[in-house]
Structure formats: C-alpha cells, structure tokens
Symmetry: C2
Subunit: 627 residues, 2 copies
C-alpha cells in the first residue's frame, strides 16, 4: 500500500470510529467500543478488497459481508454511510422506532444478508453462502465474516470451521477481531493469538496473525487470504476494544454502552470526517440456471390401503421436486438414510449437501443457501432440530425462507426411547415467527405437503413419522396449507376428534368404536397446525360443542394449543379434552407406546365417551365478539 | 499386562460382543455393531482402570462412566452384566416395555448418571462432572466418557473440549471409538486419527492414538491418561464397527440393526461366556460439606413503590441463597453482569463457574454438577437458552434437577432488537417434560421464586425482565409454585385480565382505565406458568366468563396456552382474547415496543372493552365433566 492509500485507510478507519461513537451517542445505547476495535479491518476491506455494488445488492457477483458480531452494528452502519448507501441523517436514527438501523443488523437493510446478534451464527451462515458459491453458483464471489473473539466459544463456530475447512472453501475469509474483552471481562484466550491459530489451523484453515490496527498488515493479510487456494483463511487480528479513545480503550466496563463523553471522544479521534469510499464493482456474473430437468415430473402416488411411512413419502416426493425444480437443495445431518432425504441425494447428488451430525450448521447452511436464492430443505430427526432452535429463531428474523423436515416424531418411533422422540418440536416450530407447521398422516398427503411447503414464505416445517401408516387419501387429493380434512361427519355428531399424523388413524378407529356404541364422532385431520383451519374448527365447535384432541407430542404447544388458537378474539370455545404424551416414555413397541401415552384409539374413545356423558354445551358464534 | 490378564481382557471383550449381539437379537433392534467396536475399550476399562462400587452407585469416590454414544447401550448393559449388576435374564429384556434397559441409557438404571442418545452431550456433561470433582468436591474420581466418531461433528463437543482443556481437567478421559462408519456411511475423517488428534490437542488436551482392539495398547493408553497431569486425555482408538463378525465388520449398511444371523455371529465370536469381572473399589471419600454460611440469611427486601428490575432481584436473591445453602452453584454464560448472576459470583467465587459464550456447555455443566449433588443455576439471556434446547430436553430425560434463569425476556428489552428478545422461551420451557416455569413481575416476587425453584424437582425456569418494574408486593408475601395472585377483584367483575411479568403492570393500568369507564376487571398475576393455578382460573371463568391474556412472548406456547390448559378435561372455557407479540419487532424504546406489539395497557383495555360489548357467557362447572 502506498503512503496515500495508507493514509486514506487510516482516515477512513477513524471516520468509522467517529460515526460509531456518534450513532451510539444519538441512540443512547449500542456498542461503540466493539465497533472501534474492528475499524481498520472494515476500512481496509471496503477500500481495497470488497467487491460489491451497493446500488444492486442482488448482483450475483457481489461479495458477501456478514457481521457475525452483530452488536458492532454501528461500525456496519458507519461503513454503509462511507460507501454512500445511507445518509448521515439516517445513521443518527440508529435504534429508534421505525429505523432500518436496528440495534443488531437485520435484512430490513438490503445489504444485510442475515440477521445477527445471537453470537456464533454469522460464520456458520457464511459457510453456507460460500458453499453455495463453490458448489452451486460457481461464481467467485468472496464471503467475508467479521467475528468477535467471545463468540469463538460457541460450538456452532467450530461446526463451521470444520465444514469450511473440509470443503476447502477458499473464497471464505473470517476476520477475527481479537479485542481481548468480552461483555463481562476478559475472554478466555485474551490476546493469545496463537491459541486461536492452533485451533483453527487444526480444522484445516489457513491463518494469518496481524496487528488489527496496522492497515498495511491488514491489507497484506486480506491479499494473502484472496490468494490462498484450497483452504479458507482466518485473519486473526489483535485489536484494542474502544481503540482511539483513551477513556475506554482496552478498559473493562465499557461493553454495550455509549461513550461517556462522545464529543470529547470525537475530538480525540480527530473530529468528524466525510470521506466517501469507492468500493470495487463485482465482476459480471449470471444467476445460476435453476430450471428443473422435468417441471412436470409427477409426485409419487400410493393407493389407499397401502402402508407407507410418511418419511418415505417425503423423501420420494422431495426427489421428484428436485427433478421438477432446479432450485431445490437438500441438506442432510448424516441421517439421510433414516429421514429418507438420501432419496433426493441419489437423484441429485450435486444439490445434496452433507453437514454430518451438526444440526446448527445444518440449518445455517440452509439459511446461507437461501441467501443465494436456492430453496433448501434441511432434514434430520425432529428431536435433533432442537439443537438448532436458536438458528431457526434467528432465521425468522433474517426473513429466511427455508424448509425444515423432521422425522421420527413422537412416541410412535417405539423401541429407541425418549432421546430419539420429538415431543417438543411442534411447540418449538409453532412459536417461530411466521412459521408454517405441517404434519401429514399418510403418504399422499406427505408428498403433497412436501411440495407445497417449498412455496411458503418464512420457516416451513414438516413433521414425519418413522413407522408405516395406512394410505387413506387418494394421490390426487389436495391439501392446501392452512386447510384440514373432515374424515367423518354427520348431522348428529356429538363430539369432534381432532388429530394429526399418526393419531389420525387412532382417531378413525376410535370413531368406529364410538359409532358402534351409538356415539357419532366427527373426525378432523388437522394436518396444517400453523396456519390452522379456524373455520373448520369453529364449525365443529358449533356442531358438536365437544372436542377431543390427540397428539403424539407433549401437552404444551402442540395440536391442542393450535386448535384453541382458533378461538381467540372472543370466539366461544367448546369443551375440550386434551390427549397428549404426559408421561416419560421408555422403550416399547410403537403400539405399546401409543397405549402407554394414552393417545391410541382406546384412550380417545374413552375420553369422548366421558365428555359426551355430560351436558352438551351450546356454542353460538356471536357477530359482536368474533372477528 | 501379563499374558493371563491380556487373555482375560480379550475374552471379556468377546463376551461383551456376544452379549451385545444377543441383546439386540432378542430385542429385534438396537446397535450391536456400534457396541462391538468399543468392546476392548470397555473390557480393559472395567477390568483394570475403573474404580466403582456397583453395590453403591452413590459412593462419592466412584468414577463416572458415560456412554456419550448412547446407542452403544447393548455394550453398556453387557458390561453391567459382566460386573454382576444385571442378570442375563434382564439383559434380554433390552428395549421391551417396562425394562430398565432402554434403547438408549437413562438413569432408570442406578449406574447411569445421565440419559444419552442425542449425540454430543455425554462429553459436555462429563466435563461438568469432572469440573465438579476438581473444583467443588475435591475428590479424585475419574470421569470416563465413551464417544463415537460421528458425534465429534457436534459443536457442543468442541465447547466441551475447550472448557476441559482450559480448566486442565486431568481426571477426565475421553475414549474415542473411531470406527470409521456413521449411520449412513463413512464419517468425515474416517480413520484419520491424526485429524482428530490435531484438533483435540489444539484445544489443550493430551492425546494418545491406539489400535482400539489391542488390549495392551488400550491398557497402556488408559494408564497414560491416569498418569497425565494438568490436561485431560483423549484416547483416540482406531476400531472396526461390528468387529469380530465378518458379515458386518467394517461394512456399511449395518448401523442400528441386529446382526443378520445372530447365532452364527455368537459362534464366530467363540460362543457365550459367563466371565465375571471384578471392578476395583473406589477409595474412601466423603461427600463435600454443603452447609450454608448462614442458613437464616434474609432474602433482599424492597419496598412497594420502588422500581427494580427482576433480573437484579434474581441476582441479589441468588447471592443470599448461596449464603444460606452451600449446595448452590451458579453457572454463567459470560453475561453475568447483565443477568446479574455475577452478584452470586462476587459473594461465592468458589461456586461460580464461567462457561463463556457456550450455552450448550452451560446447561451441560449444570447437569454434571447436578449429578454430583450440587444445586446448579444456569444463567444467560433467555433468548440464548434456545441454543441449549436439546440439552434441556435431554436433562429432563436424565431426571436432572437443575435451575435455569433467562433474562432480557420479550420486547420490553427495547432498543437491542429481536435477536436479543426471548419470545419463544416460555413455549420451549413449558414443553420440557416435568418442568416448572416461573415469571415474576416484581422484585420481591422474583426473590421469593428464585429461592423456591431450588426445591423443585426437574427443570425449573425463571424468566426475568431487563428494565425496572414497580414493586407491588411486600417483602414478606408468599408466592408458592403453582399459585397466582389476585390483584383486582370484585363481585361485579365483567372480565379477567391475566398477565405475568412485565405485562402485570400494564394489566393493572388497564384495569384502572376500565374502572373509570365503569368496567370492572379482575386482574390475575399468573407468575407460575407451569404448574398453573387452575383453580383460580376456573373461578375467574365462572365469575367473569371473559378472559384477556397478555404476554410479552409470541402467541404460541406461552401464557395464553398455559391458561387454557386449566380448561382441559371438559371444564367449560371462557371467551378469550389473546394479546401477544404477533409482529416482528425492530428497535424502539421499551414503551414503544409494548405499544407496537399491542400488549400495553391501551391494547388490553381495548380488548377488554370489545369483549365486554358482547353478551356475557354463562360458565357453569359441571361435576360430570370436570375432573
């Protein structure tokens, strides 16, 4: 770097500091000191290495820049100001109602790929983006991820180091801002840069240790990263938190607070500047072709009366979907043979990504693929999706559209026991903002929903069953998201049995038993748990006044709660008995498990019988209350 | 090892294989091949290194043996048979209804510390146990953890390697069964033992690479592990899945299945044996003293009208609890200054464990401390507890009694934005089997519940608020778990407002507004969300017929659903309007956030007004239905 360039970079770094201090001061909160440590890293990146068209954030050749340390948002927004993407006026709206400049970055800003702020997520998602570039897009954009040192304690980061190292993602660079101080004091490794380097190199990365405030050194390290082939690079930068302002520099107790005297700090930093940095344009690049091999390929079909596991139907349907659409990518957590995601991999090996047993990286990869325009399905055992709960939560804040499928739901898996049983997944997935939650009971329904979920916005979840279940629907029947199926109904229905997945078949058996006793039971297959078919449920409440819900899930947050959601806003509620897995299962056959949990036909008919023995409530929908 | 010892160990290994094959054959399912690879590791451990009194599993000097690869349960049960702890007859009950020998180990067996089966959890919990030995118990027991190779892809394992390495836990040994084959095919690193060694050494461990079927080499490695000071040891053993039976040995496609011809396999393994191994007794050891410094130390007290954050009250109360009781240990996720757990650390630094930003290890450490008889509080931001969801789920299966506290709940945190807001935590924690979920609204209540949760069985959760809230209860009031508080009530109540935490104060304001308009509103503070005060809620339903629930949480799985749980089993339900966070928050002040989410006093009174405009439903409890 010549002297003029060096001065420009150093001046730009000071401007980024000044603007970080100003933004946090205006907001009265925020993380200026965590921004100041990384100012040279970002200044040199912007001026000399990043290739990005800020006027066209969708340009397929753009590099990606992710602030994994999302709390350094003032620095990011200061950078956006320096490139001319936001005005100084907008910068000072930081953290105020309605501002796009939130406390932690979100994709409300068009240059932000994903929301960060839950530490240890930016690098895993960056790996997904880089993987997309290398294996699917075949576009030589670079992915730059700014990480804090505290977040390197998160296991998710090591899942990412492992995936990237083994995939040899040389277009990925992690910028590690080793400022020694976490939120509540020193980090585990302080300024022991070799401690980080040893670990990261062991995972197959190239590393460069630098003084993070030496713009020449940073520039050389970034050039070295760009020149390195066959391995991703981590630039391990020794920095000082609060750099440039003596009152806070390298001192404890100043995390996440505006500077005590912002005006003095700005003066100490040399005063405000209005440098404009010109970021290099990306090279021409074309979106990858995503046409399907055969857009009319037919979904698999099963005859009613066959017995097929919904996980198998899911896998077969997903494989066909991959033939129909070139944008579908499947991500496996080393259980594709069990979840049946492997059926997709067999037909479309180029669009099948193996993440091994690392569910956080599994979901992060899906989010990263989504950033690049692919339609991912992240698939593992439903129970193990709990491992990625925070990634799913953040994916919603990222406005990601990803599909998640979980197999081996509930006690019906049988002998493997509770560690393998998803009994909390519906609660988890329903509580994700804007999610869609689907739970098919037969093969044709599973196939249809597998295809339908690809077109939903947000996080879509499909829950599948390990064992075979009878095919009760024809292959041409339709199952709109938000719908339900009325499987039994008549004018004299006294009770409504509401089930989904494996319990639908138990409810049907119970209805048959009850019919023999002269009790007419309506049966609803509530395959769409979110959104839920409120209309159908309210009609059933008026018609029967009594509900029995039955689910292979803990009592909290699942099907019964989804049913009751339809009765908010003053809609009168029916009497309800909630059958669910209240006890701790052990090992047993699937039938024994359903029996022990009290969610089989016997328990359903007993509950219905008891409910029908009481007076029939009269449910009247009132126009004044209901909306 | 002399020739006789060598033969005994080799023969014992064959017996363990034979019994693994027999157990899986009897069950018709299970993981014999994953058991067979580790037979020498376990045989040598039992016969020559483990110190354990199987007649007294509570002996404080006992070593701990954890099968992190829980699917190798046949091997564990075969070992229990070899030491005389279970009979051959019980061995063959494997995976059947009612058997203690579940598909994956659980503490239904007295020698099993924790449930495993969700991979990557045994080592983190083992770290917690070893940490307890080194820092709290001061007893030189060893912790042996058998890990599979597939699970080394889990980030949680690297959180554990990091914690143990940096703490120098030399009484911890990881036995890595590198059998090259995962569930669906080869693992990422196959038999590249140096790849594992490099990574693990970089994290500060001592490593030994061995042929895992060479009993001499395994014995020497275990001796080396026992002799190593200042660092934990990983014995990286090259093994062959299905070892000893040609039909399955080192072949793909035999994961999680009984052997194709078990009888032939047993013959090939040399036939059944009935060796009995004598495990060395543990040295004498005494339970650590856990008396409190002052069992009568008074909880902190606040005057009504003061304004205090519940997180602060939690931290202060926890510090006093630590003075009262010597069994309380607090585990921090590097946010103790924000969660106020640091107040405990200040008073009781010897019982304060720092896990840095690694929430899986945070909860695993708590579970491990619980195994050793301590009463742990694992504390971080409530939002980031989602990171540990799978560990919390498994802790319930482990029958752990741990306390978890999450701060910064809901939109009321204000400017930091959605990544830091817990809006799913109530759904997550309520769905954990046997959990207790508490959500205080003021400082005195928070202090009382902080103390109360220590005596609850299972997983107890306390949700705290970032901002100050008014103190509305006196310092001597009582708040039993499972209770609620009636804050406003009268004979003419037309509607019941149900709130918890920060929304209690909004509900009170709404009730005041409504009273001015002539609408009498009952107000319930539902501080115990699980168990819930069904009696109080049913009375309110009868009295008012109309509920407005209001919660700083997504609509699914939180307070409203907890309320409705009281109306299962045919209890007639009131009309309900559910106020919750339906939209995606951005940054704004706390008050603006509550307003935007529609959960402040204005929204509550509007909802109540609308509900009261309709006809008042008559709720009659019927003896015939209700139970």
């Amino acid at each position: 770097m010549d002297a003029a360039a060096r001065d420009r970079a150093a001046e730009l770094a000071q401007q980024l500091r000044v603007d970080s201090v100003r933004a946090a001061a205006a907001a009265g909160s925020g993380h200026p000191t965590s921004s100041m440590s990384a100012a040279e890293l970002v200044a040199v990146l912007l001026g000399r290495h990043l290739r990005y068209d800020f006027d066209d954030p969708r340009h397929p050749g753009n590099d990606h820049l992710i602030f994994s340390k999302g709390h350094a948002s003032p620095l990011l927004y200061a950078a956006y100001k320096a490139v001319g993407a936001v005005t100084d006026e907008e910068l000072l709206t930081f953290r105020t109602l309605g501002s796009r400049l939130e406390g932690h970055p979100t994709p409300r800003l068009p240059w932000v790929d994903v929301a960060t702020g839950s530490l240890g997520q930016g690098l895993p998602i960056g790996v997904g983006i880089a993987l997309s570039g290398a294996r699917l897009d075949h576009i030589p954009f670079r992915t730059w991820v700014l990480c804090g040192d505290s977040e390197l304690a998160e296991g998710s980061v090591w899942e990412a180091f492992e995936q990237a190292g083994m995939e040899g993602l040389d277009q990925l660079t992690a910028l590690l801002d080793i400022n020694r101080l976490g939120q509540r004091g020193p980090t585990r490794h302080g300024w022991d840069l070799p401690a980080y380097a040893r670990r990261i190199e062991a995972f197959g990365w190239h590393t460069v240790e630098v003084d993070g405030h030496d713009v020449d050194a940073v520039d050389a390290a970034m050039a070295e990263a760009r020149a390195t082939r066959g391995a991703p690079t981590a630039i391990i930068a020794r920095t000082r938190k609060g750099r440039g302002v003596a009152a806070v520099e390298n001192r404890e107790g100043f995390h996440g607070k505006p500077l005590p005297d912002p005006e003095e700090a700005v003066a100490e930093l040399g005063g405000p500047r209005d440098l404009r940095v010109k970021v290099e344009q990306p090279p021409a690049a074309e979106e990858p072709r995503r046409d399907g091999a055969d857009r009319d390929a037919a979904l698999p079909r099963w005859k009613t009366g066959e017995s097929v596991a919904t996980r198998t139907a899911f896998g077969e349907a997903l494989a066909v979907l991959g033939t129909r659409r070139g944008d579908i990518v499947t991500v496996d957590g080393e259980v594709g043979d069990s979840t049946k995601a492997a059926l997709f991999g067999k037909d479309h090996p180029d669009r099948y990504v193996e993440c091994y047993i690392a569910e956080q990286q599994l979901v992060a990869t899906a989010v990263g693929l989504g950033v690049r325009g692919w339609t991912p399905y992240a698939v593992t055992f439903a129970a193990f999706l709990t491992r990625a709960h925070d990634f799913l939560r953040m994916a919603a804040i990222s406005r990601s559209a990803i599909n998640v499928a979980g197999s081996h739901a509930g006690v019906s898996i049988g002998e493997d026991g509770p560690s393998q049983m998803a009994l909390e997944d519906l609660a988890m997935m329903r509580a994700i903002h804007g999610s869609t939650v689907l739970y098919p009971c037969d093969a044709n329904q599973a196939a249809a929903l597998t295809a339908a979920m690809a077109d939903q916005p947000g996080i879509s979840y499909l829950r599948t069953t390990r064992g075979d279940t009878p095919v009760i629907y024809g292959p041409d029947e339709e199952f709109p998201v938000g719908g339900s199926r009325l499987l039994r109904s008549g004018p004299d229905d006294q009770v409504t049995l509401i089930a989904a997945g494996v319990t639908v078949h138990e409810a049907l058996r119970a209805a048959d038993q009850l019919a023999e006793e002269g009790v007419a039971a309506r049966v609803i297959d509530l395959y769409s748990l979110k959104p839920v078919d409120a209309q159908r449920l309210r009609e059933a409440a008026v018609a029967t006044g009594r509900f029995v819900t039955v689910e292979d899930h803990h009592p909290e947050g699942g099907l019964a709660d989804a049913v009751l959601e339809s009765f908010g806003n003053g809609h009168p509620m029916p009497l309800l008995t909630r059958l669910a897995v209240h006890s701790m299962p052990g090992s047993a056959t699937p039938d024994q498990q359903l029996d022990a949990a009290g969610i089989n036909a016997r328990s359903i008919s007993a509950a219905a019988r008891k409910l029908c023995a009481g007076e029939r409530p009269v449910i009247v929908e009132e126009r004044t209350n209901a909306s």
